[in-house]
Symmetry: C3
Subunit: 349 residues, 3 copies
Amino acid sequence: MTKTVAGNYFEDFTLGQQIVHATPRTVTQGDVAAYIALYGSRFAINSADTFAMANGLPCAPLDDILTFNFVFGKTVPDVSLNAVANLGYADVQFKARVYPGDTISSTSEIIGLKQNSNGKTGVVYVRSIGVNQDGVEVLNYVRWVMVNKGNIDAPAPETVVPELPVAVAVADLTVPEGLDFSNYDRTLAGSVHGWADYDIGEKIDHVDGITIEEAEHMLATRLYQNTARVHFNQILQADSRFGRRLIYGGHIISLARSISFNGLGNACFVAAINGGAHVAPTFGGDTIFAWSEVLDKAEVPGHDDMGALRIRTVATKDQPCANFPDKGEDGRSDVSVVLDLDYWVLMPR
Amino acid sequence: MTKTVAGNYFEDFTLGQQIVHATPRTVTQGDVAAYIALYGSRFAINSADTFAMANGLPCAPLDDILTFNFVFGKTVPDVSLNAVANLGYADVQFKARVYPGDTISSTSEIIGLKQNSNGKTGVVYVRSIGVNQDGVEVLNYVRWVMVNKGNIDAPAPETVVPELPVAVAVADLTVPEGLDFSNYDRTLAGSVHGWADYDIGEKIDHVDGITIEEAEHMLATRLYQNTARVHFNQILQADSRFGRRLIYGGHIISLARSISFNGLGNACFVAAINGGAHVAPTFGGDTIFAWSEVLDKAEVPGHDDMGALRIRTVATKDQPCANFPDKGEDGRSDVSVVLDLDYWVLMPR
Amino acid sequence: MTKTVAGNYFEDFTLGQQIVHATPRTVTQGDVAAYIALYGSRFAINSADTFAMANGLPCAPLDDILTFNFVFGKTVPDVSLNAVANLGYADVQFKARVYPGDTISSTSEIIGLKQNSNGKTGVVYVRSIGVNQDGVEVLNYVRWVMVNKGNIDAPAPETVVPELPVAVAVADLTVPEGLDFSNYDRTLAGSVHGWADYDIGEKIDHVDGITIEEAEHMLATRLYQNTARVHFNQILQADSRFGRRLIYGGHIISLARSISFNGLGNACFVAAINGGAHVAPTFGGDTIFAWSEVLDKAEVPGHDDMGALRIRTVATKDQPCANFPDKGEDGRSDVSVVLDLDYWVLMPR
């Protein structure tokens, strides 16, 4: 009996299947330091215990995208080890903040299956949940991935495509427990612009660019215990379509979030991700830039110290964003675009 | 008087010499995070406090090979700064687990000396001991290294070659204090295979490969405060036989251990290393693969919840291991082999 | 209204201007581990809680240069985002030690301004202060930087050049609170040489060299939340004079400090930096070496267990320092020199 886990193929998934993922992870101040070293994140609420406490939190919570990467990483060995592509995200809700010392574990349910017409691959829809050591949900999200069939002759399952919300409803956004922005210090935060200062339709060039080294994305992806082989194994990748190691999509989200600080410095929390696409692959040596657009604004019921902004952040490679590289009239993204992310942030008024 | 430490040469060692190594090191959650980022280790017992506590431990201990690297690193300035090669290990016993907050320090005794017939180098046999802040032994091992003579005319010492065990006896394996596998959760651990499922002679291809970047092995080797110059100094190495920086052997052991998770996911603890050879040097850009063979199985007296497996793990560079690259009939390893390690692991039944 | 911070240009600074810098930072054991991984620092007082406690401290403090990098990093977005060059440091006083768990924040005052004759740039003199969460000063220093004008037509300010001390007076050196070297263990520290063993004029070749990878200096510079674009953005830098990413000067200071251990192993604390110049830029792939000269010795009033050494450390690139590469008769540094740093250390007698 082989002892090696080969990952699931499309035919191995069944509708309603429940998966308990392995490798619970105690997250620590070591992970927080590594995250800052990898991305240079400057959101004060994640950077300083004093700042977090002045805003009602017990100490500095993890950056929400770091939490996302941890929860996501645990799903890879079961869900996407044989994936061709990570196609999309929906209904990504950050339900509780994670603090150093918490232990994260993940479970998933298969909520949709659709074999592709080529008969060689299929799309798997997965709802994954991350919980802390007390069983409190910290993250709940759907993603769908294209997965290879292991046995081409395996019969196609009944097609079930789940209905997914275009965006998370404002009423479903979770305000971090204890959070109170009434003493929020914009000087220490590094941005004078609050929720009231942003207009729907406004575009922001985040200016800064960060070049990615191979060592960096591999360190990051291993930190999240994400095991997808395409990120680590140059011998394997030399024979792939790209000939190179591919960078984990969450690494680009983290970079885009960090780069977005310059223009969205008070976007303290990512409350939800409405949708997102990794438009093009990225590789070592690429330089990531980003720009954002304010899609919507909403008040947060019961919290008149804050508001929600619906943001679309577009990241590019090797292309500064002063001209906001975007989709053309044909609906196709500019060739420089690598990420198109739609999400809600919480910001002091 | 020169203030710079040049390291010991072969003639500087005397039989029975006791060395107290410098640089005690408090190991922290920061080191644990760095280790995961460097190797992607997924052994649940090292990853989650909750998992470790469910198995009777106070919190997640350090990966045993991380402990090895810390204890080893301290010996380098005194033992192997002028080493030509690290020839072998024997009788490597992990005596107590190390937890974040512990402080490790190392001492050594010279237990053997043998000048080589060329008169330019000699072999030094060293028993090194790592202790924690309470003086509890955490690691006790022998290694032998070939060291340059500083003065070719220095007389050869009497040849003393210590008798070393081919393998650590099962009776000498130390079970971590408090460890109780009766509630061990194989789902969370990521492998369904327990001690009873492995057969002597069984071979496992660990499948995964990890490409090493220069930045990674240097970060790792500095983390261990290992000062051997060949790892860091490209100007020095440009004039060497290889023309390149050499990767520290412990980095390869750590990678092999991490890669072995896929097939040995419940090998929670390395109880002992019986022997090991760095068969060939490795360099930045190499991709490491590994396969393992079950050499032996043993019950652990007084612990019917666990068993010991004697494993041989062979790591290769740039060569997947589906065909188990090994020694040929002439006893020489395949050209792809870089590490050949023989060790005992503890695994739930 | 643009939301993106473009940084201050020369004409944006006014004499006496007070700046509260953003992004307070809780420093942790994660940062300490990252620092050791980046530089391989071996000063025992920073490495082991047990060693620090034996010398009267509550636990291992941060390496002083790590503190410097954190305090410095916060000033960059306001002071040097549009800097052409970091020209010098003076009167750098380490006033209190920083321990894991402390939160650092920074403020600055503009103490001098001088437009250059080309009318395109000017020199800004800044006194910056880093404090911990209790408001205790941990660092107080002056630096001056050449900053671009944003508007060439902006009028030149009145020239004010502050008088700065050539060196920090011995009476102004701060001994870490609680420090008592009477139980200092030179064996564990890794150097037998105390203050009494050093002679004024003595030169030390620190022997070791460390090659810098792009990933390493970017990880470091982001760890300090230093946002200067020249370090991260290859697309931007491709059009620069050098065509390459520039390495942050503090990275070189940290490397030089770490390399200086071999010869100055008991230089436990950097009490002050008298002055320093980044003589030439450094780039990924450079190998850093260093040598030091004892400029002066002083007793520390009230502390007969220690003394102060005034050290000059010169770092080179791609040039071993056995011949002490230095300034020529024309006062110009050897082409290999990248750093020339004059500082006071505290050392046990």
